[in-house]
Amino acid sequence: MNEVLTTCPYCGCGCNFYLIADRDGEITGVIPSREHPVSQGKLCVKGWNVHEFVNSPDRLSRPLIKESGTLQEATWDEALKKTAAKLQEIIKKYGPDAVGFFSSAKCTNEENFLFAKFARAVVGTNNIDHCARL
């Protein structure tokens, strides 16, 4: 068993808990952190059961590309190449402001930073927002 201290992915309280990873590396449970300044040993029911969605069989595990109307599994190389090529094509044809980005309040700061950097520095648009208001 390995217990990893981390921050809850649900609401903005920012409770901390330990995720319990078993010998196979699968996450099987949660231990609230009593020493954490916000949660102090408490968690809501969502936090208590947070490990379950992580292991859901519905999790995406391969890139998908739509081919004649249906999403087909693809390799990363195919998916990234295609994404890059299509993005470049649209930028070339319509300009960078024809591209928009929805960033995520579920992703980390680092990822939001990179996503914004991608929009601004790589594509060249300020069309970036996230669901702060939703």
Partner: protein, 345 residues
Amino acid sequence: MYHLITKGLVKVWLRKLIKQGVLVAPTELAGGDVVFKEAFTPENVLLKFKKPLYSVKSYFLPQEETLFTFHDSSVNTLEEVYDEFPRIFFGLRPCDLKAITQADRFFNEGFQDAYYNHRRKQTLLMVIGCNNPDNNCFCHTMGIGPFYKDGADIFMVDLGHSFAVTAQTPKGTAAVEDYSYLFEKAAEEDEEDIFFEENSALSRLNFNMPQNIKLPDFTKVDDGFWEKASRRCFSCGSCSYVCPLCFCYNVVDRQNKASQGKRVRTWDSCVFEGFTRMAGRHNMFKTRQDRLKKRFAHKLYQYPETYGYPGCTGCGRCTVTCPGNIGMMSMIKQLAEEVSTDGKK
């Protein structure tokens, strides 16, 4: 009869015992929290520690436990999964111990639960008398007390410089006798010290709650009491999750895209509305009030009828986790108060 082992030698002893199984002992995690953690060396084991937020329940009834696996939904491929790891539990408190011995009864009376029994089969229970109860502790009112030791393989008392150790089962005796060179005999004054430690712990507990506290007749507690209490309930399940004596579970099947499936049982709680909801939404415990009443009735009234003692060890963990501050200790006090107000009426 007690033997003494100096604190410096405890880890030497544990290092020997580890050869018989994984050590589960109080350990500090990265965030400063103490938990009963599995270890293959005794290096990080704490000899003095705050009560972990989890009891060792999760080693006997884990938050998620696979009952069996199967492939392609086929009953013929069904394979049971048992955890038969030998484990040495070090640093259990009397409340943890009582929970285990009660679990032994619960999982074997009527139907015998093979999963529990496999986990329990190869365990060594090393209990340390509790000489530092915290503000939420009240084991003394639940028929246990800080130095309760029934069912422990080995019972120990922290005497500062060393531990007084007594073996109570053949397994425990072997664990001491095999390494007798680590121990010396306890002197009479050591026994005095044990007595003294127990009494100071008890007086500390009496400060939390008087030992002779009386619960009112359950049928006389009116619904208003439960209604008021239920307003504070978030129906989050925290109380059940941390309770060493809550064994209710849910059963769910999981299957991945490759059709490999497993049936798991997971912790559940009687405070959830869905716990008793039937198809068609019929529910005998629809309101929070109904559920809270049922929970406390079971632990404080029906449990004693069935088992002769309450369904609570007085560990106080629910007081820490309940977001509505409905801890068992405060509920017992409030219930007790119902008696006195009743009396006035």
